[in-house]
């Protein structure tokens, strides 16, 4: 265990620990990209990383600069068109885990990466869906990694780009959405799971040195806290060593 780590580093480590060996992971841009690469290097060498640009079974020698980096191609299992990725891998149901981020996440795990404010007249125009909307619908489970603040965790997102549990309960299931939806949300303050019945986000682990008060101040609704609240394990020496090899100039993990 080490004490000298950044918030992003802890988030990435938490997310990496959630992946099971052998799973097929659809990897998104940003922190998810680092988390999955970390997991493959130190915990789960047999996972298959799939990138929407058209790579299955990536084995990058450096941290990919983007999700279309040439290092994803060299030594990969297969390179194919984007239509193959979306139709044959994702829509066919071959993806175990979708790894996503977003500008806003709400109480029921809905993700907004489109606009802040009204769509027709936005306060902030965000990048948009990319692959996320289809991934959130078609991956068997979804892990969300994002920084938490009152603005980024509102009770209801301004725009549902990628559906979580919508209004909660059985709403997602009733639409016939194939994937089971979000399972875990990792933030810089803690880790959340979802209630099996209400589908509401519940704080299940709090990061070292973070008080519940701080979690409450940085979330837009009265969040439920698990009766078995745990304290998140700090990054291990091995995790940090590998992260600093992946991001030597700490561009992504400030």
């Amino acid at each position: 265990m080490i004490d000298n780590y950044s918030k992003s580093e802890l988030m990435v480590c938490c997310a990496a620990r959630e992946i099971k060996n052998g799973e097929v992971i659809f990897v998104g841009i940003g922190l998810p990209n680092i988390a999955v690469n970390l997991a493959k290097r130190i915990y789960v060498p047999d996972i298959k990383m799939i990138y929407e640009a058209g790579v299955f079974g990536a084995n990058p020698r450096r941290l990919p600069l983007s999700i279309g980096d040439p290092c994803l191609v060299t030594d990969s299992t297969s390179v194919c068109s984007m239509s193959d990725i979306f139709m044959f891998y994702l829509q066919r149901g071959l993806i175990d885990v979708g790894f996503l981020g977003g500008a806003q996440i709400d109480r029921f795990g809905n993700i907004n990466s489109t606009v802040i404010g009204n769509y027709a007249n936005p306060k902030v125009r965000l990048p948009g869906s990319g692959g996320a909307c289809a991934i959130s619908i078609l991956a068997k489970r979804v892990i969300i990694v994002t920084k938490q603040s009152k603005r980024s965790f509102p009770e209801r997102v301004d725009f549902i780009t990628s559906p979580g549990f919508l209004g909660g309960g059985e709403e997602r299931e009733s639409l016939g959405i194939p994937g089971k939806g979000p399972e875990i949300v990792v933030t810089d303050l803690g880790v959340y799971n979802f209630d099996k019945v209400t589908k509401e986000m519940i704080l299940t682990s709090i990061h070292p040195g973070i008080e519940i008060k701080r979690v409450r101040e940085n979330i837009g609704w009265k969040v439920k806290i698990s009766d078995n609240l745990k304290t998140t394990q700090k990054p291990t020496e091995n995790e940090i060593k590998m992260l600093r090899e992946l991001d030597p100039n700490r561009i992504y993990l400030k």
């Binding site: 841009i29 929407e52 640009a53 058209g54 790579v55 600069l65 983007s66 999700i67 279309g68 980096d69 040439p70 994803l72 191609v73 060299t74 390179v79 194919c80 068109s81 984007m82 239509s83 979306f86 139709m87 994702l90 829509q91 489109t114 769509y119 027709a120 936005p122 125009r125 990048p127 948009g128 869906s129 990319g130 692959g131 996320a132 909307c133 289809a134 619908i137 078609l138 725009f159 549902i160 780009t161 990628s162 559906p163 919508l166 709403e171 997602r172 639409l175 016939g176 959405i177 194939p178």
Partner: protein, 305 residues
């Protein structure tokens, strides 16, 4: 046989017209930047620009006033942040108002697959529960005649012109690509006209020696342009790496309208063609971006008499 080999200037003059629906594809890899610069130099206007990921190439085209509409599924400077040329046009109408027509990647892929297959639309298992269909009337629903289940649909996209960059092609336009393939094949088959720029024009016996690698047949290609380093600042697998310093630098340039104009004057209007651009870029930069070789093992196709 008709000669398809020409300069970029001629290809853009002949095949790109004001008001065209245009797609310049390439997912991070093989982005046809040389063609983008030539379109700006020729001051084309009112283009409907389609692309899954409008990145620096469309930021430049839109900031230069070439477009009236953007059809897309993810807009940003990949790995870096926002694109300010596009944001100024969409949010403030500078230099002119640009409309947006927005999908998810899977939706854009399906639009091109439908277009390439000469079908009116495509069904897909996306959009359920998302707000995107509420704001885009092109995303509709249909009941499956076999199962009775409902599916979302997207309409075919059939651009007037597709422009792509590739490693190599022969003089007939048979085009070989390796590395990340994006949606180039779908975009070319969906479009009425196709311009291909390549790192190298090779003899037909080279392309025919490895037909599995030919993604786009000359049958649908109108123009072949030899344009080494034509994808810079993006990359070409096996030829050069992405110029990530420029991607980071672009943020500062596109944020500031004065810097943006200076960039246009210096790197687009101030050079005649890609050759001059590369000379200006300099040998050191090119050397720095060139990867070490890593060749695939040959395969045996056999001779059958």
């Amino acid at each position: 046989m008709e000669n398809k080999v020409m300069t970029m200037k001629e290809a853009i003059e002949r095949f790109v017209h004001d008001g065209d629906t245009l797609t310049a594809e390439g997912f991070t890899h093989l982005i046809p930047h040389a063609a983008g610069h030539e379109i700006i130099r020729q001051r084309k206007k009112d283009l409907i620009l389609c692309r899954l990921t409008p990145d620096i190439i469309y930021d430049q085209l839109i900031a230069a006033g070439c477009a009236k509409k953007l059809v897309f599924s993810w807009v940003g400077n990949p790995g870096v942040g926002s694109l300010y040329g596009i944001r100024r046009a969409v949010e403030k109408g500078i230099p002119k108002k640009v409309e947006v027509d927005e999908y998810c990647h899977f939706g854009m892929v399906c639009r091109l697959v439908a277009g390439a297959s000469n079908l009116p639309f495509m069904i897909l298992k996306s959009y359920s529960g998302s707000d995107l269909p509420k704001w885009n009337n092109n995303i509709k629903k249909i009941t499956c005649p076999y199962t009775g289940k409902e599916f979302y649909t997207v309409p075919a996209l059939n651009p007037d012109i597709a422009i792509i960059h590739a490693q190599r092609a022969d003089r007939n336009g048979n085009t070989q690509i390796w590395g990340i393939l994006g949606v180039q094949k779908e975009a070319c088959f969906a479009s009425k006209r196709v311009i291909v720029s390549v790192e190298e024009i090779v003899d037909e016996d080279i392309t025919c020696s490895d037909p599995n690698r030919t993604l786009i047949p000359g049958l649908i290609v109108d123009a072949v342009v030899e344009e080494p380093f034509g994808a810079h600042p993006s990359y070409v697998q096996g030829y050069y790496d992405r110029d990530n310093e420029f991607y980071i630098e672009w943020k500062k340039i596109s944020q500031d309208e004065k810097k943006l104009q200076e960039y246009f004057e210096e790197w687009i209007y101030g050079v005649k063609n890609r050759d001059e651009y590369i000379k200006k870029l300099g040998g050191d930069k090119i050397k720095k971006l060139t990867p070490k070789g890593n060749f695939s093992k040959p395969i045996n196709y056999g001779i059958y008499l």
